[in-house]
C-alpha cells in the first residue's frame, strides 16, 4: 500500500481500534468474568452465558425488543414515505430544502425532553384523552404501554427516516420514470416498477437506521413504555444495578451487537444487490 494512503487511513484505524474494537473485545471478555461479593474478577467461565441464555425473561425481552424495533421500522417507513414522496416530487427545490432543515430541528433539543413532552399529550388527563373525553370517549391508557414505546421510538427516528427517504427519492433519474410511462406503465404502477427499485438503497438504509436506533434505545421504553417487559437496554441497566452483574449485562450487550451485525449485514446486502426480481 502507498505510504500516503496508509497515512490518510491511520486516523480512522486508530479511532476504530481505540473506541470500537478495543471496548468490544473488552466487553466480550467481560462476559466470561465472574462476580464474587459484588466484585468483578477476571475469569474465563461460561456461567454468565449459560445463565442468561436459559432464562425466560431474557428471551422475553429479546423478542419484545426485536418486535418493537421491527414494528417501529415498518411504521416509520410507511409513515415517512408519503411525506418523502411529496417532498421529493411535488414541491420546489427551495421548499424541499426548508423542509429538510425543519426536519433537522428536532435534533436540536434533547431527546429526553422530547420524550417527556409526550406525557402532556398521552397521559390519562392529557391532550388526547381530554379531546376524546369531550366526545364522550376514553380515557385510554397510552403511557406505559407498547404503544407509548413505539411513539417514543418514532420521536427519535421519524424525522431522520423522512430525510433519508426524501434524499433517495429526489436523486432518482426522472428520465427512467418517464421512460417507464413511455413504455406503457401507468403512474401508480411506475411507483412499484421503477421508483421503489431505484430508491431501494436509500430506503433500506433509512429503515436500517431506524431499526438500529430503536433497538438500542433506552429512553422511550423506559419513560413511555413502562418497561414491562423491559427492553434489552433496560435489562442491561437493571442487571448492572442488581448485584453489580456487569458480566451478565455484557452477555446481553453481546447478544444485541450480534443481532445488529446480522441485521445490518443483511440490510446492506439487500440494499446494494444489483438485481431485483422482475
Amino acid at each position: 500500500m502507498n505510504r500516503f494512503a496508509l497515512a490518510f487511513r491511520l486516523p480512522i484505524i486508530v479511532w476504530q481500534g481505540l473506541f470500537f474494537l478495543g471496548p468490544l473485545f473488552f466487553m466480550i471478555a467481560m462476559s466470561f468474568f465472574l462476580v464474587k461479593n459484588y466484585r468483578m474478577e477476571e475469569a474465563f467461565e461460561l456461567k454468565n452465558w449459560a445463565r442468561m441464555l436459559t432464562r425466560g425473561y431474557v428471551w422475553d425481552s429479546y423478542w419484545y425488543t426485536l418486535g418493537m424495533a421491527s414494528l417501529t421500522t415498518a411504521a416509520a417507513a410507511m409513515l415517512a414515505f408519503p411525506a418523502a414522496w411529496v417532498l421529493a416530487f411535488r414541491v420546489s427545490e427551495g421548499v424541499r430544502r426548508w423542509a429538510i432543515f425543519l426536519l433537522i430541528i428536532p435534533f436540536f433539543t434533547s431527546y429526553l425532553v422530547r420524550t417527556f413532552s409526550w406525557y402532556v399529550i398521552l397521559a390519562e388527563s392529557g391532550v388526547i384523552n381530554a379531546g376524546l373525553g369531550a366526545a364522550a370517549l376514553g380515557p385510554y391508557t397510552m403511557l406505559n404501554t407498547p404503544f407509548g414505546t413505539v411513539v417514543g421510538y418514532l420521536t427519535l427516528t421519524l424525522p431522520l427516516v423522512v430525510i433519508l427517504q426524501t434524499v433517495s427519492l429526489a436523486n432518482i433519474d426522472q428520465n427512467l420514470v418517464q421512460a417507464a410511462r413511455n413504455l406503457g406503465c401507468p403512474p401508480a404502477r411506475a411507483l412499484f416498477a421503477v421508483t421503489l427499485p431505484l430508491a431501494k438503497t436509500g430506503l433500506i438504509v433509512a429503515a436500517l437506521f431506524c431499526f438500529i436506533l430503536s433497538f438500542g434505545d433506552f429512553v422511550a421504553p423506559y419513560y413511555l413504555g413502562g418497561s414491562k417487559p423491559p427492553t434489552l437496554p433496560i435489562l442491561i441497566v437493571d442487571t448492572t444495578k442488581s448485584g453489580q452483574q456487569w458480566p451478565r449485562a455484557a452477555v446481553v450487550a453481546v447478544m444485541m451487537m450480534t443481532t445488529l451485525f446480522a441485521i445490518a449485514a443483511t440490510a446492506i446486502w439487500l440494499a446494494y444487490r444489483k438485481r431485483v426480481s422482475a
Binding site: 428520465n175 427512467l176 410511462r181
Partner: protein, 351 residues
C-alpha cells in the same frame, strides 16, 4: 400528403413566459423516416416530447392515426422513445429491460421472453440477455434501448439524439442498423438530432427548426443545395455566404460582381450562397478569382475543409477530397485564389 400518421396543427408550447414552440404545423407520413434538426433550444426535443405525451401542447392539436391525442396520457399512446441518455433500467437485466413494455401490456411470461429474445437476436445482442446492463458497452446498450422500444411493435418510434453519446465509428454502424430496421419494419421514425451528418445519412425528409419554428422542410439534398434562408445556409453544410446588392442578372458583393440566377429586382439586397465543395482552389489567379490567404484546415477523413480569408477580411471555405490536395503546400498564410462556376451560386432574397 395522404393520411398522415402524425399531424401537428397550430401547436404552441409555452413554459411560463418562454415559448418553446410557436404555431407549429407538421404532417408525418406512415413509414417515413423524418429528422427534426436544429441547434439546442430550437424546440425539436419539445416537439418530440409532445408527440410522446411527455409534454402537453399549450395550444393546437396533435393527432396520431387520425385520433386527437392532446388528452391521452403517455402510457396509453404507444409512442416509444429512444432516449438520449438511453434510460435503461439499471435494476433489470438486458432481457428484462426489453420485456418491460410487454410486461406493462400484461403479456404472459413465456410469450414475453420469446419476443424479447427474438428482438435481442435481431439486434445481435442475444448473448447479453442475462447480463446486467452496466456490463454492456455503449453500442450494446444502444441496441438494448432500441429493442426495448420496438418489442411492442409500435407504428412509430421516437428517437431523441440517440447516437450523441457514441464514438464516431459506432455512430456510422448504428446509422446502418437504424435505416435497415426502419426499412424492414416499415414504421415511422421521428429522429431528433443536432447532427447534420446523422440526419442527412438516414432521413427521407428533414425538418429544420430554429427558435421554436420550422424554417425549412425537404429532402436532404434540397436542404443541402437549396437552403431557403440564411439560417439554414449557415446551419447546414459548409456554405460561403456573401451579402450583396442585386443588379438584375448579377450580384454585387464586396468580393466582386458574380452572375447569378433568381435574383430579386435590381437594387434589392440579396445573399449569394456557394457551397464549399463547389469552390475551386488554385495557386495562380485567373479572371475574376478571389485572392485569399489560408487560415487553417480541418481534416475529416477523406474530406478537407480549408478556411481562407479574402483581402477585406471575408472568411471563405473550400471543401476538397483529401487526394485532390496533391502536393499543395498548406501552411497558414499561404496564398491561393478561389473561384466558382457561374451557375453554382444559390440566391437568397434578404428581407
Amino acid at each position: 400528403m395522404k393520411d398522415p400518421l402524425v399531424t401537428l396543427s397550430g401547436i404552441v408550447k409555452r413554459f411560463g413566459d418562454f415559448t418553446a414552440v410557436h404555431r407549429l404545423d407538421l404532417e408525418i407520413a406512415a413509414g417515413e423516416f423524418i429528422a427534426i434538426m436544429g441547434p439546442s433550444g430550437c424546440g425539436k426535443t419539445t416537439t418530440l416530447r409532445m408527440i410522446a405525451g411527455l409534454e402537453a401542447p399549450t395550444e393546437g392539436q396533435l393527432r396520431i392515426g387520425g385520433r386527437l391525442m392532446n388528452d391521452v396520457p403517455v402510457h396509453e399512446r404507444d409512442t416509444p422513445m429512444v432516449w438520449q441518455s438511453l434510460a435503461l433500467f439499471p435494476f433489470l437485466n438486458t432481457r428484462e429491460n426489453v420485456e418491460f413494455g410487454l410486461r406493462m401490456r400484461g403479456i404472459g411470461t413465456a410469450e414475453r421472453r420469446r419476443r424479447a429474445v427474438e428482438w435481442l437476436e435481431r439486434l445481435e445482442i442475444r448473448e447479453f440477455a442475462e447480463r446486467s446492463i452496466d456490463t454492456l458497452s455503449g453500442g450494446q446498450r444502444q441496441r438494448v434501448a432500441l429493442a426495448r422500444s420496438l418489442v411492442t411493435e409500435p407504428q412509430i418510434l421516437l428517437l431523441d439524439e440517440p447516437l450523441s453519446a457514441l464514438d464516431a465509428h459506432l455512430v456510422i454502424r448504428m446509422q446502418g442498423v437504424l435505416t435497415r430496421l426502419q426499412r424492414e419494419l416499415g414504421i415511422t421514425f421521428v429522429y431528433v438530432t443536432h447532427s447534420q451528418s446523422e440526419a442527412f445519412a438516414m432521413a427521407d425528409r428533414i425538418v429544420i427548426m430554429s427558435g421554436g419554428r420550422i424554417v425549412q422542410t425537404g429532402r436532404p439534398r434540397e436542404i443541402y443545395r437549396t437552403p431557403e434562408c440564411r439560417f439554414v445556409a449557415e446551419f447546414v453544410g459548409r456554405n460561403n455566404i456573401l451579402e450583396g446588392i442585386s443588379r438584375g442578372d448579377a450580384i454585387e458583393t464586396p468580393l466582386g460582381v458574380f452572375p447569378a440566377a433568381n435574383l430579386p429586382a435590381a437594387g434589392r439586397r440579396a445573399i449569394l450562397v456557394i457551397a464549399a465543395d463547389l469552390v475551386e482552389l488554385s495557386r495562380t489567379g485567373s479572371e475574376g478569382s478571389i485572392p485569399c490567404s489560408l487560415i487553417s484546415e480541418e481534416f475529416v477523413g477523406a474530406t478537407v475543409t480549408l478556411f481562407l480569408e479574402a483581402a477585406d477580411g471575408t472568411e471563405l471555405k473550400v471543401q476538397l477530397p483529401e487526394r485532390a490536395l496533391g502536393d499543395l503546400d498548406l501552411h497558414a498564410g499561404g496564398r491561393f485564389h478561389l473561384s466558382w462556376p457561374d451557375d453554382v451560386g444559390h440566391v437568397l432574397a434578404e428581407n
